[in-house]
Assembly symmetry: D2
């Protein structure tokens, strides 16, 4: 039997942390013994746990310790993190520590330092007394990468019990909820972000256009609520189709009848924008006179259009290389104060992967499976709303007036 | 080979009738030969088909003729319908003709008479020169029931091409549509029905309350847009819970936090209404001061609450016998000019089964499978909207102002 | 400020109990102070909590205490439960205690007695030194009903960590899971139940027939795995349609083409069974020669067919009064050792409402929303599987061989 | 009033063509007058339509004619197609004809020539007596592009009535169907394709791995049923995770418990494969010993992994540029005899966009919305199955034995 003593400090009862700790130990065929558990006597006080873990093998213990790290537990005994150099570009040592999206600290030269650019599924590179998340593909030979579970501390986020509006919203995914309350709360957040000159990032799919809410999202951009727009080629295509022909998927949004050119309007829109030299050029030459991207161009709101295997065109501004697109997304997300995901699973999950757990993210989709999947980032700062994206944007815009 | 000559008249190209006719013939291993097909030269003109059908066996031919009836085809040769007496209460002769929901005529004593109380899945009883749909369980020994496919004409409904608003709405089920247009059209229909002193029947599930739209449906009742309300026990329970405690499923709808008594408020609401002697009594004694059913009672709008296997309570007004509940539903649907189904599969399908195909029915649900299932009644008068029921009612109410 | 001291004992960390306790206190605007918390030092040991709660008003405190009861907390000071007589049939005193589905004890004459026939949403009647759950409508004037939250103890169920097969299955609802493992576990449970001569109750919707698995469920009945079948009228109708005509919803299940009589076969099946005098009679006369209900009749497996507002017919055995249908369901569920719900939200929720939390219930449906709703009974004994009901039954039957 | 005479020939009643023709005319505010309609007298005979269309404006007429083309109608008067040179790379003349996925012919120098590489949303370039579909981005200045609707004939595909197995499968999307029949038909198709040395292309998402069917798809590859595999980075990641660690999303597929390293196993798998130099290298060095891609490498079955914004890693073989990925997909789809899409909306829609309507495509997904969307390519050769992907592959593999 191998034994280790671990400790954890924080709001351990909340967010199922303590329960998850016990589950992990049992799942590994290990046993636990509580040495000390001091519960926070009030809602504000931290709890403190010291626990012995007995595992049948050293390898299992090593794995278990790594798992427990993500739940806020670390070895009682403090040692520096193990650091190994990369032996080749683009990949890490075999036992590299793969990050979560929670605040992480590394012990290096006897000091705890906070990891920069926290995101999930990265390696941690230590350099010059600093530590930062680096994706596997960005590692370079010689980079010093944190390996194993020692010398690390992870601080999972805690439920904020007092913010009742949020408490409501963060509860389980369901279409049987009053959307107005949530929309009201999102409006409040957006107003706060704008007032503080922070950045709200909107991640949007073409369903925003199909459901007739393009003018509402355009208004949010025009009125200064959107700090950056992350989307795909399709949003730009359908936004341009609507601006140029008044149709979406060939349907006249104002009259509800199928359009003259049916589904082909989107190809004509792509062709016209390509001929103009791109979206920005099309705004400048006066071809595009309205729409979501028109407002972005006019107001100087940055946008990134990521390509995909199902794209038509694409629009000239579409970034067709995914590594570059991910880098651009990540850049605009860096100091986001709020992320609002509207009707797109692909781009929303891509976005959720890039940001630390403490940035609030609101995901709106009519399909509960999509909302569940996005909410899976395991953060109490993620709010899922199962509702009609078009009607939600209408309501939100009304509430922002 | 058995051969029959059939004819059909009407807008045969529309609504896939002609295609379906050919499919049926082929599926039965039969063959067809067009004797004459005169196509309507304009959108208004009828088409006229005369066709020979060759089937391998008499039984197959008989079956095929019955199937073709529902598609508007009948034997060229006109004979009276075969009528047999029931030999026992509650069941029909083995070869009874089972109705569709389309307009049907029976040839009796050399005259074509229109079937009364048209609905699907019934027998047709001929009596005193009249014909009417009668459910199996309502047949009495001696009733003269139409058997086989002879002497019958069915007139499937045709697509109304000119009503573009409707054309839009009746297109395929999808959440990627602009709901505002549809809501606007429903508002227009409701206004028209009220102006003409006709009856719009609302079929509603408890999700109307959970999504925070109880006050909007209550307002529709108060403002005279609702001619009758068909629902289940649960709607009444949650409406009363909201009226008495401000909660729905234990959630404070105004504040978004879980209520003091959690999920148990609905049991307290049931108990209080039972103690009062029922919903009507609770309105009269002043216990209930608001809500959907409060407005129904105050305005004299009839309501039927059908019981189900999952009911709590039930509320005193709930009709727990299903045969009686079906009869009451059917009675209030008799001269409905519009049916609006909100967030309930069970009661909506029950309702759709009871009404002829020509009564317009709008089904709103966030789950596309529900909308698809209701729309399955095979009528161009059925419109499915995949959207958030709560937000839809808000929008509808705003548009009715 | 009003203050009470409460205690709880058990696996408090598991199943989020402790977290939920803290949440409830904060949501009520109350505060807590931990007097003592002794954590179970190993997986087997209980934890023990003593906590002071400060609430701003007496009414809030009373409500909070009732809420905390459901989470396993009770007043430290032991008093008898308050018991009031009913003043009228069919309803309880206003402050009656509404039950959960967890094991509950009542303190009466200084002794703790276990409540019989535990189910949710009932009153507790004390009589002759015994206590039992009684539905509101079954209360009679003079019955002594437990009121308030005093003198009650609730024992929420705990996660069974060692049963790893189950642990897997009870995790969150998702279609992205390996169904074979779960099917294997269900097969194991069914075999165990049969070997011990206990009763597995199957709750089934007509989708079992539509997806081509009627013969598999029939085989389970024939082979003695099914102790009772709870369903609706539609299951019997489609089972008979298949047995008599080889079709389901008018589709030939063996050949995959639409049947001769299309959707009308179900009406012919109903009529034939009604003419025969019912399902049992139809088996005896040889009209029905196969199917799920045929096997039930042959093997003497009891079945209950509950009516609903959307029924055709109904079949003679269908119980059209919902109060009676609920009583019959409850009777057959009384000593169930396992409940298997297959493709029906209505009957599954009805069933889940009737049984205590400690009876294992497996819910299988292709729609995640249905599985989520059934799993909502808040029991670690509920397992949801999002998969194809037809393919699941095939797999299950293969595994039982 | 502008008037044109158009004609159409073929199975016009089938697939709603004639109905759609009339709808289009009315939607444009135009009128029609049937000059001649000769219906096919038997199932085999073509119908022949000559119709006058009256439109209020020349522009409307031009648009209408283009719309009618896609429905198989063309001007009675035969003229050469209008051809204009591109004035710049990567975009077409403004009035370019945007293709459908149906067989198309262009009249050039008085001869009708068939368009090569037919796919939707392309331009048609005429060169050297040949015509071919070319995507906008692949156009070069000077390319001669077909413009307007003249000199074009489109031949929509017709329903094959005799193939009853297919008829069943191509009917509406529903989870209430017997999957075995469809699986049997797919098995038959796969066997036929293999026997004739043709190419079946499988498009697969990671849910194949999560639902425990990786070994079944691997077996299909090994047994020669798969001609090419089109997927994304995630399939390769989870396939490698399973091969290396026995887990999928951190869940032990054999034991059903969460894995030692939880969700991080997928990052370790990526890192190991990257260190090995890629999937092919990992098979050669013996790191990868099983799995879907292992079998592809061993058997020489080509695979394309398209990147996306949500990728981790990526795997070295992942094609991160979308234009290149689309080109590779299209190349492997060129002479596909069958396409089988398993649990991925993104790649399935990408694929469906690239192929002509006459290549059979089977789409399997547990989410009906996904199946509906893929089936939207408007081809009677598309079959949607709403079922559990894992269980479907099991069944399919059993049927192929």
């Amino acid at each position: 039997m191998h034994t280790e003593t671990i400790e954890a400090q924080g709001h351990l009862i909340d967010s199922h942390l303590l329960e998850a700790v016990f589950d992990k130990v049992i799942e590994h065929g290990a046993k636990f013994e509580i040495v000390k558990f001091q519960i926070g006597r009030t809602n504000e006080e931290f709890s403190h746990l010291v626990m012995k873990v007995h595992a049948p093998e050293a390898a299992v213990m090593e794995e278990l310790l790594e798992e427990l790290l993500a739940l806020g537990c670390h070895r009682l005994e403090q040692t520096d993190a193990l650091v190994r150099p990369c032996d080749a570009d683009g990949c890490a040592p075999e036992d590299f520590y793969s990050t979560t999206n929670h605040r992480t600290e590394v012990r290096h030269n006897g000091k705890w330092i906070t990891v920069q650019r926290q995101r999930m599924d990265s390696a941690i590179v230590v350099h010059d007394g600093q530590a930062a998340c680096v994706k596997l593909r960005d590692l370079r030979a010689g980079d010093k990468v944190v390996c194993g579970a020692g010398g690390l501390r992870v601080l999972p986020d805690f439920k904020e019990r007092e913010r009742s509006g949020f408490a409501f919203m963060s509860s389980e995914v369901s279409s049987e909820r009053r959307v107005e309350l949530a929309a009201g709360r999102v409006a409040e957040l957006l107003r706060g972000v704008r007032a503080e000159n922070k950045r709200a990032v909107v991640v949007a799919g073409p369903v925003v256009v199909h459901t007739g809410a393009a003018d509402k999202l355009a208004a949010l951009v025009r009125e200064g609520y959107v700090g950056a727009l992350l989307a795909g080629n399709a949003l730009a295509v359908h936004d341009a189709e609507l601006a140029l022909f008044g149709t979406s998927l060939g349907m006249h949004l104002e009259r509800g009848v199928m359009a003259e050119h049916g589904h082909r309007n989107h190809m004509r829109a792509i062709n016209l924008v390509r001929r103009a030299g791109g979206i920005r050029a099309a705004v400048e030459t006066g071809l595009l006179k309205q729409g979501i991207l028109y407002e972005c161009v006019r107001r100087g709101v940055p946008f990134v259009l990521a390509g995909s295997i199902r794209d038509d065109g694409p629009m000239p501004e579409t970034v067709t290389d995914m590594l570059q697109a991910q880098n651009l997304y990540a850049e605009h997300l860096r100091d986001a104060a709020l992320i609002l995901c509207l009707g797109t699973m692909l781009h929303s999950i891509g976005t959720a992967n890039m940001v630390p757990s403490w940035i609030p993210l609101v995901a709106v989709d009519i399909n509960p499976a999509v909302v569940t999947k996005i909410a899976d980032r395991g953060s109490s700062q993620t709010i899922g709303l199962v509702t009609d994206v078009g009607l939600f944007l209408h309501l939100l815009h009304t509430m922002l007036k």
